[in-house]
């Protein structure tokens, strides 16, 4: 069943294209134009994710955010026309998971919604393993044998991608799409850079190489031959 998304936004025009865009992507969409009815809808028909405008008539967005958060662990994405830091911090403090400043790119909004839904999936923290390498999706920490390896956000995503597709050649395009979230048209050495850092971290104590280059194709995670 497709995810249910609740949009609370007082501007009709924005609400309309958001509803159309999200429906086009296959989500079930509920809409509310003020905080009161939004909270009511969320109670009657619990959504999988809430897109919330911060400037609302009646109960303001921050308060709505706080009450939604008190009601359960539903992911909340804030939309704001103000890009002042205090607003953003306040929103995140009130329990929002992410924010976007208007005007936003629809593609980016959809990407973030996907990411939030993915993260919110009831999948319990999981430990992915390959050979002596393991990755905890809860703590986002990798280890090789007994050695703990800390990763940056992108390094984690890249390694997770490899661990979820072991022994499978991943093309550059696929890596770009899954890790960076868009089709990267230009030529860039960014993937090589991240592969290099990952290898450095994974092989810091002269362990065997796990991520191999497949010339002309991409990269693959496989046992050392």
């Amino acid at each position: 069943m497709s995810a249910r998304i609740l949009i609370i936004e007082d501007d009709e025009a924005i609400l309309k294209f958001l509803r159309r865009g999200l429906a086009y992507e296959g989500y079930q969409v509920d809409t509310a134009t003020d905080g009161q009815s939004g909270l009511g809808l969320a109670r009657d028909n619990p959504p999988d994710l809430v897109v919330l405008d911060l400037m609302l008539p009646g109960i303001d967005g921050l308060e709505v955010c706080r009450r939604l958060r008190a009601g359960g662990p539903v992911p909340i994405l804030i939309l704001t026309a103000k890009d002042s830091v205090s607003d953003r911090i306040q929103g995140l403090d009130m329990g929002a998971d992410d924010y976007m400043v208007k005007p936003f790119n629809l593609d980016e909004l959809l990407a973030r919604i996907r990411a939030l839904l993915r993260r919110a999936q009831p999948s319990r923290p999981q430990v992915l393993r390959f050979a002596d390498l393991s990755l905890d999706t809860g703590t986002r920490q990798a280890s090789r044998g007994d050695r703990i390896i800390s990763l940056t956000a992108k390094e984690y995503e890249l390694l997770e991608l490899f661990l979820r597709h072991p022994r499978q050649v991943l093309t550059r395009d696929m890596i770009f799409d899954r890790v960076w979230g868009y089709d990267f048209g230009g030529e860039s050495n960014i993937i090589e850079v991240y592969i290099r850092y990952l290898r450095q971290k994974l092989e810091a104590e002269n362990e065997l190489r796990l991520i191999h280059t497949v010339r002309g194709m991409g990269y693959v995670l496989r046992e050392p031959s």
Binding site: D11, I14, I89, K102, F104, N105, I190
Partner: protein, 466 residues
């Protein structure tokens, strides 16, 4: 010269002038009085001698000449011989006053004899009831006393003048200093206001409502008015900015939606690209306006989060592709994994502004390159183009607010920018503890380099405010 010094000097010269006139008057009157006194004494002595002398056909019988201890007396005959003299100049056989010997009237003269200043009275001795001159009486008195008095007087006057001029000078220096010291405060505060860009400050003043008090009041009123004006302008900018964002969101969102729904129709794709790039430009302008409105107030907090610069650069690159698409090629060259501490949205604004600037000023067919690397403890972002370059005379000014080189303005076909992007980028980078550099060769291209300190310890959730 400072006002204070000028005032002190003025009072010194006025007092000096007055004292000079006064001193001359005193000196002259004292001198005249003293000389008169001497003359009087000499006249009295001469009169006494003449009264007591007896003259007849044969000659003159002189009375006792040694009546006065401090008056020298000589009597000369008509034959030019010394007839007699007082004891106190016994042995001195020249006339006391040679020039007046033949005078027919009593004459006073000052004469110097053996380094002594003398006052000499020459009286012709005339036989009573006839005109016959039978000799000359010369009576002289030393002027030593008069000179001593004059000398003392001159010293007293000079020293007195010097002392009073010094006192007046110091007094005026300190009193004007005191009177002007509030002005010093005014100047310092005004300086601080300018430097801190903080119009909410006022000049403190507790003194009396005198001229300086009025000046400070007027200055504070001007500040209030300026502050009001600035606040109004800032609020207006902020309101307009926020109001503009909603319609921009709608246009942008619908364009995105059409692109997703329309499939691969080239014609509509071109229109959508055009809509998107214009909306992006408007969005940038609104962002810059809001930024300025906030930065003007000096209250622009920056988040202090971990920012992955490489991801940010790719994000911005992706966003700017539409703008560059048909005009020039944009390439991400070397890129490294780099993390810094800072405000992601602001750093994005820096990159967007630099890229938008490069794309705008590079002619069709050109190339814009981006690279990211690390050098020691600094992140290094380079945005370079092969456009017309920036004239050397414009280079030092390009980060100044609203500055745009004359030439580039006429050269650019769509030179509708705000000219704010670079100064905003400069502000943001500087407030991240970094710096921004530019090198440019005319006809060869321009290259902007942004240096940012690499992520340090404990970088999370803090906000730093400029």
């Amino acid at each position: 010269m400072s006002l204070r010094a000028r005032l002190a000097l003025l009072s010194i010269s006025i007092v000096g002038g007055v004292l000079l006139i006064f001193g001359v008057a005193v000196y002259l009157s004292v001198s005249i009085t003293l000389t008169n006194q001497v003359d009087h004494t000499l006249e009295g002595a001469a009169a006494q001698i003449i009264r007591n002398s007896m003259a007849d056909r044969v000659g003159v019988t002189l009375p006792e000449l040694n009546l006065f201890a401090d008056i020298y007396i000589q009597v000369w005959g008509t034959d030019g011989k010394l007839a007699s003299s007082s004891l106190n100049i016994q042995g001195f056989d020249r006339p006391l006053d040679t020039d007046s010997l033949n005078s027919v009237k009593p004459v006073f003269r000052d004469v110097v004899i053996e380094n002594t200043q003398l006052r000499v009275l020459t009286v012709p001795l005339i036989i009573r009831n006839s005109d016959r001159v039978i000799g000359v009486l010369q009576a002289a008195s030393s002027l030593e006393m008069v000179q001593a008095i004059q000398e003392v007087l001159i010293w007293v006057l000079l020293i007195g003048a010097a002392i009073s001029m010094t006192i007046i000078g110091l007094a005026s220096w300190f009193s004007t200093g005191r009177a002007l010291s509030p002005l010093e405060t005014v100047t310092q505060t005004a300086d601080q206001i300018v430097r801190a860009d903080d119009l909410s400050r006022r000049i403190p003043y507790q003194g009396p409502p005198d001229e300086v008090g009025h000046l400070i009041m007027a200055f504070n009123q001007t500040l209030s008015r300026l502050e009001n004006l600035f606040n109004t302008q800032r609020r207006f900018l902020a309101d307009v900015g926020h109001e503009l964002r909603t319609p921009l969101t709608v246009i942008r969102g619908n364009a995105d939606l059409m692109r997703r729904m329309s499939g691969g129709d080239e014609e509509s794709k071109e229109s959508l690209d055009s809509i998107q790039s214009e909306v992006d430009r408007l969005t940038r302008m609104v962002g810059d306006l809001l930024f300025l409105a906030q930065a003007e107030s000096g209250k622009l907090p920056l988040a202090h989060d971990l920012v992955e610069l490489d991801t940010l650069i790719l994000e911005v690159y992706n966003q700017m592709l539409v703008l560059a698409k048909d005009k020039l090629t944009m390439r991400v060259e070397e890129i490294d994994q780099v993390q810094v501490c800072g405000d992601k949205d602001r750093l994005k604004q820096v990159l967007v502004n630099l890229l938008a600037n490069a794309i705008k000023y590079t002619p069709s067919g050109g190339e814009v390159r981006i690279s990211l690397g690390k050098l020691e403890d600094q992140a290094k972002i380079v945005v370079s183009d092969n456009g017309p370059g920036i004239p050397a005379e414009d280079l030092p000014h390009i980060f100044e607010r609203f500055y745009r080189g004359e030439k580039s303005r006429t050269r650019s076909r769509d030179g509708k920018g705000f000219g704010l992007g670079l100064s905003i980028a400069y502000w943001i980078v500087r407030n991240h503890g970094g710096k921004i550099e530019v090198t440019s060769k005319e006809q060869q291209g321009t290259s902007f380099t942004v240096w940012l300190p690499l992520e340090g310890e404990s970088c999370k959730g803090k906000i730093f405010v400029d």
